[in-house]
Structures are given as structure tokens and as C-alpha cells.
């Protein structure tokens, strides 16, 4: 198992190499002047585009350009992002924890509710509950994230004013700026606990309710459906009948024998779940004004801020590689038939 993980980690540079090759290749579709704008950090530099093209070798042949890009990137220089007014590396560093926090909070209800409702629906097949779950799943799956997000934003924030948006109230932002609250992790809830500021924890949690709900409603539906289908499959298997014939209790048969096997397709789905989650954070952060990677990406894309978009693309590629590794490890845990040597 350890050797397998190590081997997969060693393949990470290869994947990143391919992705970066693809991205820099795509950039060749732009003119050297357009590519030069990636390095502009001030008005003064904007006057001097030919010098930038010269300095970064933007009119050289592709292999030379790729080499230049790679040496810069390996030194952590991914360019400057206009939309966030800092270097791309710095933007990723400061904004990543925010998106991670949002995703972690969303994953818990998505997996928990998805598996729970899927199990209930399968165990009570064709009952009212099953039909209701099915209708809910189709409805949830048909709700575009941005439509649902705008609706609950207008209803619960704009209309009723129950929840806030953004990450924390301005008074905590001021406190952070004045150094009263130290940012250890840049995840607001964790920092609040580490600083012992439970008023800030509450504030951050309330602001997470709307984005997390929006992310969860749309993605849970998918897991629920797959869970129901695969549990129905396992329940009709011979070994489940044998287990019942042995006199095991329903609970043990359903949850230990059948559900454990039924989880495998759900794990297969987790690759898709992660993709949906990443798509979702872009939309949700934009709607709820939650300053994370996704909102930065959406703003950057509209402003044609190319270094930002490419930097974000690299981050997403890395996340996906690690996520797939995690999924493969999870397989081995759930399904002992799988061996990785």
C-alpha cells in the first residue's frame, strides 16, 4: 500500500508537466503582446510592452518559451494577477484555505446525507419515502447551482436577513488587520477557535450556512441516487440472502453486509463529486461574496486576467491528482479484494 502511494506521488510531476505543457501551449494562441500583459504590475510597465516581450522571451519559439515559463514557475513566479492585485503565488496561498474551509464544511452533509437517504430509499423500496427521495433527487440534480444560490440568497439573506454573506463581519476583519486576531491557518472557523474567539466562530459558521447548503443540495442528489441503486443491487445478492438465512438481524445484514459493498460505486463517484465541488465553489463563492479561490477565478476570467486563470488551473490539476490518489486508497480500504502490488 505504502509503495503504491509512493509510486502515485512520483507520477505527480509527470501529470503536472503534461498539464503545464498543455496550458503554455494554449497560450500560444495569443499574441506576444497579450501574453506580455501577464507580467504587467504597474501603469509604468504598461508603456513598455516590447521590453517585457524581450525580457521574458515571449516571441521565442515554443520550446524556449516553455523552458522560460518552467524555470519561472519552479521558482514560484506564476505572474501577477490584476484582479487580486498581488502575485499569483501569493493569491493562491492566501485564498486556498478559504475555499478548503468551504469545501470541507460542504463535504460532510453531502456524503452523510447522500449515503443516509440513499440507504433509506433502498431499504424501503417503492415506499412514499423512496418516491419522495427520488423526486427530490431529480429536482436537486436539475437545479443549477447559480439559480438555487441566487434564490436562497434573495430569500434568506436579502428578504429575511437570517444569514450573512462573505466570510466574517467587518469588525472581525478589522480585528485581523489590527493584529488582535492572529491568522494561523486562514480558515476563519479554525482561527477563531485557536484565538479563543467564539463570537467570531459563530459569525463565520452562520455565514457558511448558505454557501454550504447550496453546494450540498445540488451534489447530494447524485450520491443519493447512486447509493440507492447500488444498495438495491447488493440486497438482491445471494450472500445477503445467506446472511439472512443464518438468522442475522436485519440491521447487521443491511448495514454491515449489504451497505459495505454498496459503497464501492459511491466511491467511484467521488471523482465526479470532487469535480462538481470545484465547479460549485466557483459559482457559490461568487454568489455569496466568499473570498476564496473560486471567486478570484471567476473575477479573473471575466477580466481576462490570464496568469490568474492559469494559476488556478494548475491548482485544480493538483487537487484532482491528489483526490484520485485518495479515492484509490479508499478503494483498498473498502474492498479488500483490491491489491496494489
Amino acid at each position: 500500500m505504502f509503495a503504491f502511494i509512493l509510486r502515485r506521488l512520483l507520477s505527480l510531476p509527470v501529470v503536472l508537466f503534461a498539464v503545464s505543457l498543455l496550458i503554455v501551449g494554449l497560450l500560444q494562441l495569443l499574441s506576444p503582446t497579450q501574453r506580455a500583459t501577464a507580467f504587467i504590475t504597474s501603469e509604468q510597465q504598461a508603456q513598455n510592452i516590447p521590453a517585457i516581450i524581450e525580457a521574458y522571451g515571449l516571441d521565442e519559439p515554443f520550446p524556449v518559451q516553455y523552458w522560460n515559463w518552467l524555470t519561472q514557475a519552479l521558482q514560484g513566479n506564476l505572474g501577477y494577477t490584476r484582479s487580486a492585485n498581488m502575485t499569483v503565488a501569493r493569491a493562491i496561498q492566501t485564498l486556498f484555505p478559504a475555499s478548503l474551509e468551504l469545501a470541507l464544511f460542504a463535504v460532510v452533509p453531502i456524503i452523510g446525507l447522500g449515503i443516509w437517504f440513499g440507504t433509506l430509499a433502498a431499504l424501503h423500496r417503492n415506499s412514499f419515502l423512496d418516491q419522495a427521495t427520488r423526486v427530490m433527487a431529480i429536482l436537486g440534480w436539475s437545479l443549477p447551482t447559480f439559480v438555487f444560490g441566487i434564490w436562497i440568497l434573495a430569500a434568506l439573506y436579502g428578504g429575511l436577513g437570517w444569514f450573512g454573506i462573505g466570510r466574517v463581519s467587518t469588525r472581525f476583519i478589522t480585528a485581523i488587520a489590527q493584529g488582535e486576531i492572529t491568522q494561523y491557518t486562514r480558515m476563519m472557523t479554525v482561527d477563531a477557535i485557536l484565538n479563543g474567539r467564539f463570537d467570531m466562530l459563530l459569525d463565520a459558521l452562520i455565514r457558511l450556512v448558505l454557501p454550504v447548503t447550496t453546494l450540498a443540495v445540488v451534489i447530494t442528489a447524485q450520491i443519493m441516487r447512486v447509493m440507492r441503486g447500488s444498495l438495491l443491487d447488493s440486497l438482491s445478492q445471494d450472500y445477503v440472502r445467506t446472511a439472512r438465512a443464518k438468522g442475522l438481524s436485519d440491521r447487521v445484514v443491511n448495514l454491515k453486509h449489504a451497505r459495505r459493498n454498496a459503497l464501492i460505486p459511491v466511491i467511484t463517484l467521488s471523482g465526479l463529486t470532487i469535480a462538481l465541488l470545484l465547479n460549485g465553489t466557483v459559482v457559490v463563492e461568487t454568489i455569496f461574496n466568499y473570498r476564496g479561490l473560486g471567486m478570484w477565478f471567476a473575477t479573473a476570467a471575466v477580466q481576462v486576467d490570464i496568469p490568474a486563470v492559469i494559476g488556478f488551473g494548475l491548482v485544480v490539476a493538483i487537487i484532482i491528482v491528489f483526490a484520485n490518489l485518495f479515492v484509490d486508497v479508499l478503494y483498498a480500504i473498502v474492498d479488500p479484494r483490491i491489491r496494489y502490488d
Binding site: 498539464v19 431529480i138 443549477p144 447559480f146 439573506y157 488551473g313
Partner: protein, 373 residues
């Protein structure tokens, strides 16, 4: 290693199609000999009977027919607005309609005249722009002549929602068709040529498939420059992987069938096997898969438009119209939901559209899934 989810679904669904359909067709054919009436074989097939008994499927079909009707007859439905020639709206002029309102309305609604059919078959691009009642930034609630209200900038929501249906079909069909084409070419090359070509192309499929589609499309749009055309190209570049995998799988599967072995033994070339046996066997079910994807394509396309990466402002695009609401989230004091209509109408239009396609897709899987028979 990991089980390939495609292979399973693939083996179930399309085989079921063929088996059910051919068996039922054969049975119906025998009956047909004795009852030379109207040919009802397709309608009476086992799969179709199951489909007709599924209330969710029927709901999907009815909803979709409704959208097709709205999209098709959009010129007649919105005739008064077109005839009024509101600010910057040249749809009526481009249709050579008279200046007089009543006459233009009558022309757009008269199914025996030329303008009616011309507007339906080939409306000018300008009809896909939302007419502006004013340039006022303040939204107006539903009122006479504007049953769904007016968004900020004076955009008539009703007109946008109705013509948005046409836009959705344009976008969905176009993107699905291009993706389908790319998928067939790449999947075909991989399956037909095999060897290292297959390896390289399938790795490419894996990478594109694993990448979140919205994000990848947004990256492409940024690099190409934000516009409707570029967003459609980006969506097509992102959406072809599934067809490539399915088509390649079909090629490999059919190649090992006994009768293809027979054909090969008789001296049929690789190319002949491909065109005579693989293509006719596989294209039909792939076209169904592609057309059922229209709903999903429209969902992603409208998300891009919502983020500002699609059509330019003022196009009859549901996603973009929802984004009109972003400046009017908070109502007025005492009227917390004052501006509900801005996001409600285009939003519900997208949701029901996607829902209709998902119901159809669900029913298709249910009906043709032999495990559930």
C-alpha cells in the same frame, strides 16, 4: 484496479435497446402479417409500452414539447413586443414588418402568411436581443404588456424568457453536435488505429474528463476571449470525452463478435468491418446519449453566461438574465421580496428545462435497463 464504470453501463443499456426492440419488433412483425393495419410496431414495442406507463417520463415529454412549442412559436408569442420596436430592438425591421403595430402583430400571428413562417424558420439575430423599455436602472414589477416585469436596464423579462427557450435549444443542439463529432473522431481513431494512438488519446480523455467541466470551459473562454461563440466552442472542447469513450468501447466490443469474425474470415477489411458493422450498430444509441445531454449542456452554458463568460449583455439567455438579479438581492424596507421576479422567471425556466431532460434521461435508463425488467 478500479472498475471502469462505463463498461458496465455500456453493456447494460444499448444491448437492452437492441434485444428488447428486436424481439418486440419480431413479435409485432408476425402479428403484422395477419393484421395489415397502420404500422404500430415501434409504438407497441415492450420498451415503448414501459416508457408510456412511466408517469415521470410522460411528464418529461410533455414539458419538453412545451419548450419546443415556446421556442418554435416565440415570434408569434411575443408579437406585440416585437411590433412595438422598443429601444435598440431591430427584430421587426429586420423582418421587413410595417411600422404600424397592429399590422405587424397580425402578420406575426397569421399562420397563412409569409412573415409568420419566416420569423419562425429564420429569425434575424436581432430577435435574440431583449427589447429595452427604458434605460432606467430600477427594475419594474410585472405590469400590463410586461407580464414578468422589467429588469434593470429596461430589459423585458417576458421576451427574454420566451426567446431564451430558442437560445437554449440553439446552444444545446449546437454544442452537443460538435462534441459528438469530436468524440466520434477521437474515439474512432483510438479504437480503429489502436496501439500508441489509442494510449495517447485515452490519456487525453482521462485528463479532460477528470477536470471540472465548468472550470475548464471558463479557462478556454478566458484564453479565447469572452463571447457567445467562444463559450460554445469551449463547451464543445470540454464535452466530447464521454462519446469518445463510448464509441471506442463499441468498436472494441463489436470487433470481437462472432459475425464480425465471420466477416473477417471472408476477407472483409478493417475499414469495411468498421463502416458496415461498427458504425450502424453504435451510432444510433450514441445519438440518443448525445441528445439526452442537451439539458446538461444548457446547464453549464447558462452557468458560464451567469458568470459573465457567455453572451453579451442583453441577449435572450436565461443564465445571463438570472445575473441581472445580483444587484437587486435586497428588497426595499417593508417589502423584503420586492425584486423577486428578476431571478424567478429565468431561473424557473432553466430549472424546468433541465428537469425535463433529466426526466427523459432517467426514463430512458429505466426502460432500457434489462436488470429492472
Amino acid at each position: 484496479m478500479r472498475p471502469d464504470p462505463d463498461d458496465q453501463t455500456r453493456d447494460d443499456a444499448p444491448d437492452g435497446v437492441r434485444d428488447d426492440a428486436t424481439l418486440a419488433a419480431a413479435a409485432a412483425h408476425d402479428e403484422h402479417l395477419f393484421a395489415p393495419e397502420v404500422d404500430m410496431r415501434w409504438w407497441q414495442s415492450k420498451a415503448m409500452r414501459r416508457f408510456r406507463r412511466n408517469p415521470l417520463a410522460i411528464t418529461g415529454v410533455v414539458l419538453l414539447l412545451f419548450y419546443i412549442g415556446v421556442a418554435l412559436f416565440a415570434p408569434a408569442i411575443t408579437a406585440p413586443t416585437i411590433a412595438e420596436r422598443e429601444r435598440g430592438h431591430t427584430c421587426a425591421r429586420d423582418l421587413d414588418l410595417p411600422r404600424d403595430s397592429d399590422e405587424a402583430i397580425a402578420a406575426l400571428r397569421n399562420p397563412f402568411g409569409v412573415p409568420f413562417w419566416r420569423a419562425i424558420a429564420a429569425p434575424p439575430q436581432s430577435c435574440l436581443r431583449i427589447p429595452r423599455v427604458s434605460f432606467s436602472p430600477i427594475p419594474q414589477p410585472p405590469q400590463e404588456g410586461h407580464p414578468m416585469g422589467i429588469a434593470s436596464g429596461g430589459y423585458d423579462i417576458y421576451y427574454g424568457v420566451v426567446w431564451g427557450a430558442r437560445m437554449a435549444f440553439y446552444v444545446g443542439i449546437l454544442v452537443s453536435a460538435i462534441s459528438f463529432g469530436i468524440g466520434i473522431v477521437i474515439g474512432g481513431a483510438a479504437g480503429f488505429l489502436g496501439g500508441w494512438v489509442d494510449d495517447v488519446l485515452m490519456r487525453l480523455v482521462d485528463v479532460v474528463f477528470a477536470f471540472p467541466n465548468l472550470i475548464l470551459a471558463a479557462i478556454f473562454v478566458t484564453i479565447f476571449g469572452p463571447s457567445l461563440t467562444n463559450s460554445l466552442i469551449a463547451l464543445a472542447i470540454v464535452g466530447w470525452t464521454n462519446y469518445a469513450r463510448l464509441f471506442r468501447g463499441d468498436i472494441l466490443r463489436v470487433r470481437n463478435l462472432d459475425y464480425v469474425d465471420g466477416a473477417r474470415a471472408l476477407g472483409a477489411s478493417k475499414w469495411r468491418t468498421f463502416t458496415r458493422h461498427v458504425l450502424p450498430n453504435s451510432i444510433g444509441s450514441l445519438v440518443i446519449v448525445a441528445s439526452l445531454d442537451i439539458g446538461a449542456v444548457v446547464l453549464v452554458a447558462s452557468t458560464l453566461a451567469f458568470l459573465g463568460l457567455g453572451s453579451e449583455i442583453g441577449t435572450t439567455d436565461w443564465g445571463q438574465m438570472v445575473s441581472f438579479a445580483r444587484g437587486y438581492i435586497q428588497g426595499a424596507p417593508g417589502e423584503p421580496f420586492k425584486y423577486w421576479y428578476i431571478s424567478w422567471w429565468p431561473g424557473i425556466a432553466i430549472v424546468v428545462f433541465v428537469l425535463a431532460w433529466n426526466l427523459l434521461g432517467d426514463a430512458y435508463r429505466d426502460v432500457f435497463d434489462p436488470r429492472d425488467a
